[in-house]
């Protein structure tokens, strides 16, 4: 029988992101809904960045500690370890700068970033501590210290975007713009950012991530709506790549921490924990994420297998 493929007509193309200095990493550039190869062009696979932190993590549960505790006291060693695991990009989260943590100085963070950039060839994503005001102090200094390295920095939010955008612009970096799970808020923030003269093609939308079972369906649907508005309906302020900051939300959940002896009906912790991250990540690939920030190397492997299978 004859089946004529019902195709959509698209109104936009997601900008291609190429970042890094020595080694480069790529994502975006596609012209259709996620993995709709029959009606669009997909020059790159989505990218996974390994998350590392600038201090010994305060809240990594056992399953992550097993993997990273031998390297996590030294940011550089931690990054090298990720490289040895096949990382194509590193996401450094400056958790020590948070006022509730060590409240470390922006300069200290900048030194760490510089050191990392001079020793490691991988493209770098630099994230603040998600404290709106403190990030506004830290990110400008850090963006300046990494000038010329063509990084991604973030996150710019409604409360601090002016400073963060200006510093990304001055440092020549790409920018993550985060809003609260709402299509219109995401659009509004991007309008404000571009009005400052920041190029649209260098913005990556963070629609706000969440973990399976903990707000997952909101993130999933907001991502779908943003991608549809951008690429199908041609809203240029939403026709942009998206990031899913998966590890950060997943590894807070009880499902990644409770032992089988505590909750027998949940089964084995190791499998449950890393699949919590892998399934959250794969789901967000399907809803439109182009960049994933993840923690567990086994989960990353599984997501890579999934991407290869999708691109087969």
């Amino acid at each position: 029988m004859n089946f004529s493929i019902p195709k959509e007509t698209y109104a936009g193309i997601i900008p291609e992101i190429v970042f890094g200095k020595g080694k480069k990493a790529y994502f975006g550039g596609q012209s259709a809904l996620p993995f709709h190869f029959f009606e669009g062009h997909f020059p790159h696979k989505p990218l996974i960045a390994f998350e590392i932190q600038d201090q010994i993590p305060e809240d990594y549960p056992e399953e992550l500690a097993k993997t990273y505790s031998s390297v996590w006291d030294d940011t550089l060693r931690w990054a090298r370890f990720c490289e040895s695991l096949g990382a194509q990009a590193i996401a450094l989260r400056l958790t020590s700068t948070h006022p509730d943590s060590r409240d470390s100085k922006p300069e200290e963070a900048a030194d760490k970033v510089k050191k990392l950039l001079s020793e490691i060839d991988l493209p770098l994503i630099i994230l603040g501590s998600n404290h709106t005001e403190k990030d506004a102090d830290v990110l400008p200094i850090v963006a300046d210290a990494s000038r010329g390295y063509n990084c991604i920095i973030g996150k710019a939010q409604e409360g601090n975007y002016k400073t963060v955008v200006a510093s990304a612009m001055a440092g020549g970096h790409f920018l993550i713009a985060m809003s609260d799970l709402d299509v219109n808020l995401a659009k509004q923030l991007n309008i404000l950012i571009t009005q400052m003269g920041f190029p649209r093609e260098k913005i990556i939308i963070d629609p706000m991530c969440s973990a399976l079972g903990y707000g997952f369906e909101y993130t999933y649907s907001v991502m779908e709506r943003i991608r549809i508005a951008g690429i199908l309906q041609g809203d240029s302020m939403l026709c942009l790549p998206m990031v899913a900051d998966v590890g950060f939300y997943v590894w807070k959940t009880k499902e990644t921490q409770a032992s089988e002896s505590d909750i027998p009906e949940w089964g084995s912790l190791h499998e449950r924990a890393l699949m919590w991250e892998a399934v959250t990540a794969c789901s967000f690939l399907l809803s439109g994420a182009d960049l994933l920030i993840m923690r567990h190397p086994e989960a990353v492997k599984i997501v890579n297998r999934f991407m290869n299978d999708l691109f087969s």
């Binding site: 004859n2 399976l212 499902e255 794969c282 399907l286 087969s312």
Partner: protein, 450 residues
């Protein structure tokens, strides 16, 4: 796709003869469009137009049940490609594959029967068994089936066999539970369709790719079979995603009736991790039945949670009623905690209080089903509203103390609540619910010391 009143009106005789009981054809058409009146009430329209109207009012993707009268599950009848457009209606059935040659069938059945997990007030479980005729023999298949019927007489079943004689023998034994017959392919379609028709059971139709499967579906339809399930034999994640998307799109957007049926996906893979990913893809992307080769508890929890999330209603968060709830048997000296009425929040907090084994009063405040921080950010979980709620709840009369434990994430509310709730002391609890058992134990200890 459903017709509007005006579209229906255009097909009516427009004589306003009132035989239908309505003053005008237009009034009648409007009622038909709203589904309040059957088109049959107009004696004046031709059979041809009736058929046309019936066709237009049938759902674009057919829905039907399988299982017994008490365990029946509905699949299909989906209306959208993206859940935000309305919602996904009939949750994916998770079926566990058992082979008739398996040596430990009883244990495998127990796994299914013991698979249920409570989450956010719902009981989630493996819904069905897919019994595969690995042996190719009738007697072996029936032996395995007997074991299942013995332990779980009305569990929904899917029979995986290519052999009409096996199918007939199995279906004869299960007339009360409307099993699904899987599968009809290009070789056995005539015999299998015969059986599906005779016993009025759903039939899985299987061939490689959409075009080939369409031909088989057409054959089955021409034999009068309505309850069909599609399998395009996808091998890769790419094929699952694309075939499922195109099938749903063709049915919903192009009104292609021949593809307007639920889809089954065989997620079986070489390793459990990857099988979980493939099953997740199928749950997210339009499969109505997913067949699994193993069901360890961790995997069930992942898939149950995903299915629950994705089939929730995007317009209405799951919520619980406002009120003072008892966890255990609290008395006048028991602690009092407060949180919002978002179902997820409530069940997490309640669960952890139970874990602490300390009887506790739990005050649930109506915040339109928002989580703690969301409600706070939206101004619904504010100091004044909390104070008002506590005062009006009548809890003061049941307590010998005046201490209220608030979620750690809203520590900033402490002073303002104390200000508005005269005589009360506000205690800041832990941020995450998982910290509640340790917190409550310490809290009770410190009170005992005072």
């Amino acid at each position: 796709m459903a017709l509007t009143g005006i579209e229906i009106f255009k097909l009516l005789p427009k004589t306003n003869c009132k035989k239908c009981g309505f003053p005008t054809c237009l009034a009648f058409a409007m009622k038909v469009a709203q589904g309040q009146v059957d088109i049959e009430q107009c004696p004046e329209i031709s059979e041809e137009i009736k058929a046309k109207l019936k066709e237009a009012s049938t759902p674009p993707i057919r829905g039907f049940f399988f299982g017994s009268s008490s365990t029946k599950i509905k699949i299909g009848e989906e209306l959208v490609l993206f859940r935000h457009e309305k919602k996904f209606f009939n949750p994916t059935v998770l079926a566990f594959e058992i082979k008739d040659t398996d040596s430990n069938i009883d244990l495998l059945i127990d796994e299914v029967l013991n698979s249920s997990i409570e989450r956010v007030g719902q009981t989630l479980k493996i819904d069905a068994i897919f019994l595969k005729n690995q042996s190719g023999k009738v007697d072996i298949f029936l032996q395995a089936l007997d074991k299942i019927l013995d332990k779980a007489p009305d569990l929904p079943l899917i029979f995986g066999t290519l052999k009409p004689d096996v199918a007939v023998a199995a279906v004869e034994k299960t007339k009360d539970i409307r099993p699904i017959l899987s599968e009809a392919n290009s070789e056995n379609i005539n015999e299998m369709a015969e059986i599906a028709k005779k016993y009025n059971i759903p039939l899985v139709v299987r061939d490689k790719g959409i075009e080939k499967v369409m031909a088989l579906l057409e054959t089955a339809r021409s034999k009068g079979i309505q309850d069909l399930i599609i399998d395009t034999k996808p091998e890769t994640a790419k094929e699952i995603l694309i075939n499922n998307t195109l099938i749903r799109r063709a049915a919903l957007k192009k009104g292609m009736k021949v593809l307007g049926y639920p889809i089954i996906t065989f997620a079986n893979r070489d390793d459990d991790f990857y099988e979980t990913i493939i099953a997740s893809l199928a749950v997210l992307k339009y499969s109505s039945i997913v067949v699994l080769s193993s069901i360890p508890k961790w995997k069930n929890l992942v898939l149950f949670t995903l299915r629950q999330n994705i089939y929730s209603d995007p317009q209405v968060p799951m919520q619980v009623k406002q009120g003072i709830y008892k966890v255990g048997e609290p008395d006048g000296n028991s602690p009092l905690m407060i949180t919002t009425n978002f179902a997820l929040t409530y069940f997490l907090v309640k669960g952890e209080i139970e874990n602490s084994k300390i009887p506790t009063w739990l005050a649930i405040m109506d915040c339109d089903g928002l989580s703690v921080l969301t409600a706070w950010a939206a101004g619904k979980f504010s100091a004044s509203k909390i104070a008002e709620f506590i005062k009006e709840s009548g809890i003061e009369e049941r307590l010998n103390h005046r201490e209220l434990i608030i979620p750690g994430y809203v520590a900033m509310l402490k002073a303002a609540i104390e200000d508005k709730l005269q005589g009360w002391k506000v205690i800041v609890g832990t941020k995450e619910a998982s910290g509640i058992p340790a917190f409550l134990k310490n809290y009770m200890k410190s009170k005992a010391l005072v």
